[in-house]
Structure formats: structure tokens, C-alpha cells
Subunit: 624 residues, 2 copies
Amino acid sequence: MEQILGPSVPSGRALWRPLGVQDVIITGGPLARWQRINHEASIPLGLEQMERSGALPNLRRAAGEGEGPFQGYRFQDSDLYKQLEAVAWEHARAPEPRYAEFIEQAAAVLERAQRPDGYLNSHYQVVKPGKIYTELEYSHEMYCAGHLFQAAVAAARAGIGDGLLAVARRFADHLVEVFLTGGDDGIDGHAEVETALVELYRLTGERAYLELAGKLIDNRGKGLIADTGLGKLYAQDHLPVREAATPVGHAVRQLYLEAGVVDVYLETGDESLLDCSLRRWEDMVATKTYITGGHGSRHDGESFGERYELPPDRAYNESCAAIASIHWNWRLLLATGHGRHADLIERTLYNAFAASTSADGLRFFYVNPLQRRDDLAEDAYLGRRREWFACACCPPNIMRLVASLGGYVATTTGAGLHLHQYVPGTVGAGGARLRIETGYPWDDLVRIVVEEAPDGEWKLALRVPAWSAATLVDGRPVRPAEDGYFSIRRRWTRGETVELRLDLTPRLTYPHRRIDAVRGCAAIERGPLVYCFEQADQPGGVAVDDLALNPAAPLRVVPRDDLEGVGRTVLIETDAAAVVQPRDGLPYTTTPQATGTPVTATAIPYFQWDNRDGGAMRVWVHLA
Amino acid sequence: MEQILGPSVPSGRALWRPLGVQDVIITGGPLARWQRINHEASIPLGLEQMERSGALPNLRRAAGEGEGPFQGYRFQDSDLYKQLEAVAWEHARAPEPRYAEFIEQAAAVLERAQRPDGYLNSHYQVVKPGKIYTELEYSHEMYCAGHLFQAAVAAARAGIGDGLLAVARRFADHLVEVFLTGGDDGIDGHAEVETALVELYRLTGERAYLELAGKLIDNRGKGLIADTGLGKLYAQDHLPVREAATPVGHAVRQLYLEAGVVDVYLETGDESLLDCSLRRWEDMVATKTYITGGHGSRHDGESFGERYELPPDRAYNESCAAIASIHWNWRLLLATGHGRHADLIERTLYNAFAASTSADGLRFFYVNPLQRRDDLAEDAYLGRRREWFACACCPPNIMRLVASLGGYVATTTGAGLHLHQYVPGTVGAGGARLRIETGYPWDDLVRIVVEEAPDGEWKLALRVPAWSAATLVDGRPVRPAEDGYFSIRRRWTRGETVELRLDLTPRLTYPHRRIDAVRGCAAIERGPLVYCFEQADQPGGVAVDDLALNPAAPLRVVPRDDLEGVGRTVLIETDAAAVVQPRDGLPYTTTPQATGTPVTATAIPYFQWDNRDGGAMRVWVHLA
């Protein structure tokens, strides 16, 4: 099977071929900034944490080398595996000897820790050797294995870490022996290994890995694991995968599971898998997706809520859920060729995902709400980003996605290229090389310069985002085809250009009326960016919580080259009102609300919030 | 100390003297109905469950008599204690030999289970004898003890259960030896024993019980117990009691704690305790109280949320929190003489509390939301009332309050009587006896007939609820004094009457604009009753979730003698709109909502919901 150096899904059934991390060079804009701080700040922090958080010491314990008690959660190994994957992609993008060294050294520890039969999990080996594979509902053993496989695939594609791949294969073979040929039935309470097994199959050609992934998906909903007390929905074990109509339970589990479901479809052609996954996708997008692209409405169980249950303040929107959604949508994009999946990737990437990391790359959100009140109890958890977490699933997950972002920008067909995300830089594919010049998403113009012209007729397909009300190509209004792309098929000459102009007019967006939690409100968007109102940007004394927007007022664009703490941004100002309602006894009255006084309200892109004072924030603001 | 047969707070510092359960006979209206079904259905079910749920079998195990494993939670004993208290009050109200027998038999089991040193807890004696008092953060040992003390006090006041009191005193003495004179410092993670110790002091005169209650309150906020992982706010251990400004954490814990704080003030006169409790009360009422009187905005930690975080769908509003709030407000009423506490008791009683039980008394809510969607996932927990719970704190708690409701109706002073709640029946106090004739809360007239006239000048004080916009006494408009009562002081003659007419005009109520979750909505109230819209009452095909109210439309009162499944009620009809917004892709658009078609919408009192089909329900409905 052809190998592509990227977080890719090369498959006969995919409509398009992904590009490798080395085929797309991102040279500017927010994505290049994220990759720079990932390289300079986040990854070094993550590498340090692999010792401090216990991830590597635990594995040394399992190898019989370390001292002291097991540290952290039973899935602590997975932090290391995600970190290894991040380092592997980063090595492919911007090689450094320390990356290869880290992978090599970690692989050596893993090799020594791994049991002769291939099993590897420091928690179970150190703490509960008698319980291996007996607590699948919460053991995370296959979940950890999955992250190991993904790290090994990334390292192998990047040409480093043969040792890691050997460890991964031995563990995968052990899983096959127990759960496929051995006849044990089970699933992991936390889906993840399914997509990883398919990727390992793509790398190695070992069909048993694909078969095991398929079996694990078929096993879900049969009650093979115990209920952890959080209910069968929590682990998507309430119904067979092909029968479940809507995403439920722990959001990250559901979304990783979906990536696996589409992956198995892509390799086996089982249409029933694609069908059920698309059915849930449509329900999720229409009723359970935040405007930021985030998923997970409840802290309770870190889970999806009911349809239209989308509270802004108690939104969970785990950073890992944003990543898992991008993985799933990428696979759906390759499977269906429909730009709506690239649209959702863009929305998620620039909002739910990007907000997870501070401007300096050193602090992270686990939970990404759409509102923070100005009136927090004196003693409440303030909900600011943190350097690390006891359960640190998010930071290394963020790092592996940022390092591999180039893989999500474009795809090729035999004679053509689809541009899914607009970033300045170069994209090379099959004899063609394009240079892309753009200040997007701050500016509306995307200029595509043909640096190397392909032979013969060749199609350039440009995604036209659903939000772009008026789109120009080379100065002429265009409408995308039903798949969301505008295509130009012709012979190309070196040096010629295509100019795409997207509609970045700021827009006031209203929620569906059944989203109770934000009725009577609007949000501001511009291009792919969702905006929010932060206390730091409001004129003296006006509380964000007192703002009321005027739907008729113009939205004024205010570019800022270097806003303190934030960097480059585009603010939006509008004429609004400040409505102060007194606090007196029960907050229920028989007279409607007070009127307000005029103020100017200023909004900042949501992904740049919480880089200043930690004050109030709102995406959805009352309408006057 | 004088003993009153009621859930009382007799204290030198209380402004008023409570009445006993036998002094107030409730003969009609919803409260009499609740007492009847409590007697006929709920208590018999509860008595059965004492065997089935493991509560009594666990204690037999502790006595060395039973077989089989410990059943249920570590606080399983408390279910029995609350059930015993319910039975004791019910015996005082409507004696039956089986009640005295049950108490006697249970007391005998407890006596045999109790250790010679007085300690008693079946979980720790059976499962973890080595861990006694070492896991106070979650052990519930003192919490269980508190419920034992309250049961013993109730039984003693009802003249039964000497054996129970002896058991309780031995355990209380053991607590005193360990935590007061013995010098051990600690608190129970779940407050409750504080108010119970004060009641036991009131019954026995043993000052050490009061002192221990005071010490446990002083100990809170000092970090004497471990964090269970839910944070220090969860158990109100984040700050000393006198410093905490707002209710936080697990709602039932906070509210039981407050009852203890006011109880200790009432007996010691420590004003700093009353002050801090009132400060939190005011903050809670203004920012953390549901319109139903419910408390607890989060499933996560069963806890209070931030100020104005009051989601209707994910409201927790545990039934036990409503009970605890009534306990606290009763003590504040006696301490301050301000009718606002009786107002909140009424709101809580008729809404948050009353909704907890089905019309037949056989099913209970643990969680009392203000909204249930019509569009629940096929596999979601439907949230209907249940016969019992693994954690069954609520049902017996409900039973003990219903049995003792008479104790919350009126209080006396030397020469006078305050009527706090309006119920048909008789109230006797100090040579006076009043007969009250009323169809309240369905009807607006309360007729008070003097059956026995008191000697000399005597004051009759009538609570004028804050919601009653136009109140008449004997046909003349009156306004209450600042304390919320309208008083008549004069000489009284047998047979004379006073007629109070409250304003039961239905009203449209708006939320404070900072309650994000219900902005742009209104609720309907009539008298003390909050209304809701249930699917069962709406004309064919119109979904509750599509309703939009017209604030200018009249609210029509529709009395129903016997609505199927519900019984007597008063419905409210209004002209509204049905607004159907299509589902198509992301639920965010740049065009505002659709308009609707005219429909008649019908509301039912919230406390009577979920007695029909289990469909959608809303207290707060969009405004057109």
C-alpha cells in the first residue's frame, strides 16, 4: 500500500489522495503561528512533562527499572504515545535530532517494558497484573494501544522509530491473538483503537488489524462490557453502531469511534458503516454542534446532551473532541468528497480547536465554554487555561494535530487538486506546485500562483465555504457546485494565477429557536472566525454581561497588528446598549426588562480569548 | 426545655413558638391529599423498601445476625433513619399500631448492632471496621448519626421509641467523646449532624450536643478533611462558615449546614452565625434560586452553580434540597420573624417539593428539572419518576416532611398567632382555636372562624405573600407591614370570622436578564403555583417546544375537578403561536426566526406534571 507522510487515509475507496506533511509548507497566518509555538513552546513543555507526569517513569517501572509508585491515571501511557506522535509529525515537518532521539529512547523503554507476549500497559503491569483485559469498560488498555499504533505509524512514515513500530506490531499481534483469532469478545470502553488499527493495517498491510477493527466495531452495543455507573450511552455501548441514530455519551469516545467506522468502510467498502456514520453526522451537525464546532454539552460524563441542548456557560467542548471531530470529518471528506466536511473542519480548527491553546503555547484548555461570567463566586474554579492536567489527554493531542496540520490542507486526484483550507505557502502534488499568497483569515484574497504547471488538463477545485455569501474568482461572481467546490479544469502555464475572493463581511448569526440556552441572542462571525466579547475590550465599567446588541447596527472591522497579549487580530466594533437590571430579591418579576444606555461593544476572535485578564466572555450576546 | 410535638425549634431566642403536629389538623386541599397518599401509599412502600434495599438487613449483619454482603451505599443506614422519622411524625398525626411496632423493632435491631462504645454504622462495622472516622470526607458516619438523632427526637416527641432515643444518645455521647472532649478534629463531608445535635440538645438538655454542633460548624473551612476529588466547595470546606459569601457545592449539604448554623445561633445567640447565614440566603435567593424554589443548577456534583446559572433542562433541584431549604427557612423565620422566609417555604413546598411525588404517591423524582424536551434521543434516560433509587435519600425524606407539614403552618407568641400557610383545618394555640375554611391554593378566599376565643387582647397575623398584588381583609384592601404580615390585634369573640382574599390573578413572570438560560421567555404563575406546559395538554400536533407566548394575551383560568391522572387542578389557557423552524445543517443562520401560526396553549401547575404521558414539559416558554 502506498505510504504518504501524513495523518492520512490512503485507501482505494477514498475519492482523493491526501498529501504528506512535506508536500504542504505553511508559511504564514495563524496556522504557521500555531506550528511555530508548537515547535518552540508546547512540544518542549510536553517532553518535560513526560518525565514529570509519570508517563515515562511508569513504563520504566513496568520494565523493572524504576522506583516509586505508579503515577497518574490508568491511561497515563497514552500521554506518551500522543507526545511521540506529535514529535514524529514535527520531525517530518521541521526535523531536529532531539526528536529522533526522544523517539528512539522512548521506544527502547517500551521495548523493555513490553511483555514477551506483546502486551504493554504500565498501569496493569505494575498495579494490577491479575486484571489484564478484565476491566475493559474502563481499563483503556486498547485505547492506549491505539495511541501507540498511531505514534508508530507516524514515526514510520517520518522514517524514524523502527523500534517503536516493532513494539506496536507486537502489541497489535497480541490483541489479534486474544480478541480476533483467540475468540475473546470485548470492546474498549474508550473507542480509539479502531481507527489506529486501520492505520496500522495501511502501513503494514497486515489484514488481521483491519479485521480486528471491524470486529471491535461490530461488538459495540452488545453489552460485552460492564456499565461503569455512567450508563451504556457513555461508552456508546447502548446500541449496535449501525443502529444508533445520534451521537451520545462521552463525546471524544463517540467521535474517535466514528473515525474508526469510516476507516473500516474505506478499507472494506461496507456501505452500512458509512451510512450510519453519516446519519449521526447529520443529526449532530443540526442539533448538537456548537457554533465554534465544539462538541459535548455536559460536564456530567463529558458528554453529548439532548438535541439542541447547547448551553454556552457549561459547554464542555473538550479540546480532544475538536481533534476527534477533525479526524472524523477528514475521513468523511475523503469518503464522500463533500465540502461540508471541510467546512466543519475549518470551523472547528479556527474556533473550538484553536481556542484550546494560549497565544504563547504554554497553557491549554481542557474545556472550551462559550461564556464566562463576570460574577464568579469568590471561591469558584476560574476556568483559565492551565499548563498541564492530572488527566492530560488534551495537550499532547493538540500538539499532534498542530504538527500535522499540513496534511489537512489539500488532496489530489489523478489530474487535479482540491484546496480545502486556505493558508499561505506551497502545495505540491503530482508534478504541480502551487504557491498560495493570502492573509486569510484576516484578509479576503487568496492568490494561487502556479509555480510548476502540471502536464495536460488539470483541475483546480477551490472550496467555497458555506458562509461566503458572495465569492469571486478572478473578479467574477461564482457559485460552488453541489459538493461545495468551484472547479477550474484546463491546461495550466507556469506563473499564471487564480484569485479567489471570499466574503469576509462580518455577520450577525442567530441560533435555531430550539437552542434554548441562547435564544434571544446573536453572535458575530467573520469568515471562519466566531467572535466573542471579552471584558478586556469593553469601555470602562460596562460589564460584558450587561451588553445588548442592536441587530440593525453596522459591524465595523478594526484590524490590529499586535494587540497586547494576543498578536495580530481583527476586532469588530458595534453600537450596542448596556442594560443594568437591579438585584433585589428573587430574580423573577412581572415586568419585563429595563432598557439600556448606548455603548460601543468590541468583539475579538474566540480563538484568541483568555489571553488577557481572565474576565467575562460571551460568544452569544442578548439582542436589545 | 419545653417539648413540642413537631419538627420544631423551641428556643428562647426564637421570636415565635412553633406548634405541634397535633395542634394543626389539615383537612383538605393539596396538603391533605399529600398526607393521605403519604399514609396510604408512600409510607407502606418505604417500609417495604427498608428490607428490600438492604437498610435493615445491613444492620442485622452489623448485629451479627444476618447473612450476605452489605447492600447499597455507605450511607444506607440513613434511609432507615429518615423512614423512622417519617413514621414517628405520622404516628403523631394519625397513629397506627404498626408504626409504633416498626419503630420498636427497628430500635431493637439498632440496639443489637450498636457497639458497646456507642458507635453505630452498618457499613463501617461490616465492611471497613478498621476505617472508622478515618474517611470523614465521604464516610457519612456523622450524617447517618444526625438522621438517627432526628428520628429519635421525633419518636420521643411522639411518645414512642424510648429504645431509639437510648441508641441515639449513646451514639451522640460517643461523638462527643471523640470529637468534643476527646479532642479529635473533623467534620463530616456531608453536613446534617449539626442541626440534629441541636435538636437532640433541645430534647435532652445535654449541652455537650450543642457544643459539638458549634464545634463542627467552626471546624468547617479549615481543611480538616481530604478533598474527594470534587473540590473543597463540594463539601463547603473551602472557607470558614462565617466567611463564605454565597452557597456553593453540593446543594443539600450547603442547605442542611445552614439549618445547623441557624440552630446553633438560636441556642447560643452567636449573631455572627445568623449574619453569615442571612448573607448567603440573600445571595442565593437573588441569584441561585429557581422559580420553583428549587436549588442546585448542576448535575455535576449535584451542586449550586455560578450566580444566575439556572438552566431549566439541566436543573438538578434535588428533592432533598427542597426539604433542606424548607428546614433552613423555617429556622430563619423563627429567628427573624420575616415573612420572606415563609414566602420561600410556600414557593418551595408547592413547586420544587410537591413535584417530587407522583399523584399516586408511589413514584418519586430525585431531580426536578424545569424542562423536558420532546426530542429525546431514542436511548436517553427519559427522566420520569421512579419507585425507588439505589441512592434513596429522597423518598423517605419526602415522607418525613409530608408527615410533619402541620408543624410549618402557624406559630404562636404569648398572645397571638401567625398564620404562615393557608390550609383548611384547625389551628389551636394557647386557649385559642381557629377553623380555617379555604379552597386555597385553587381559590382565593381564606375564611378564619374563631372556634375558641382567646382571653384578652390577642393578635392574629396573616402572611401576605409577596406575589399577592391586591389583598383584601374583610373586603378592604390591605398592605402587609414590612415583615410581610397583616396583623389584627383586638379582643375576639367565639364565632366571629376574618376573611382574607389573596390575589390569584394569573401572572406572566419574566426572568432577570442575567439568567441566560431562560432569556426571552416567560413563565406563568398563579398564587403560589408555578405553571408549566405539558405535551399532554396541547392541541393535536403542536409541540411544546414550538410554543411562543404572546405577552399581551389574556390568561384564562380553567378549573378542572378531576383531570385524569392528576385530580383537582386549575389549568390556564392562553392564545399563543406555534413556531416551527426547519432543521437543515448547522442550527445557526444569518436570518432571524420564523413567525408562527395561532394556537391555544394550556398550562398545568408544575407540581402536577409527569402524571400523564411522559412527553415534553416547559416552565419557561419563548415569547413571540
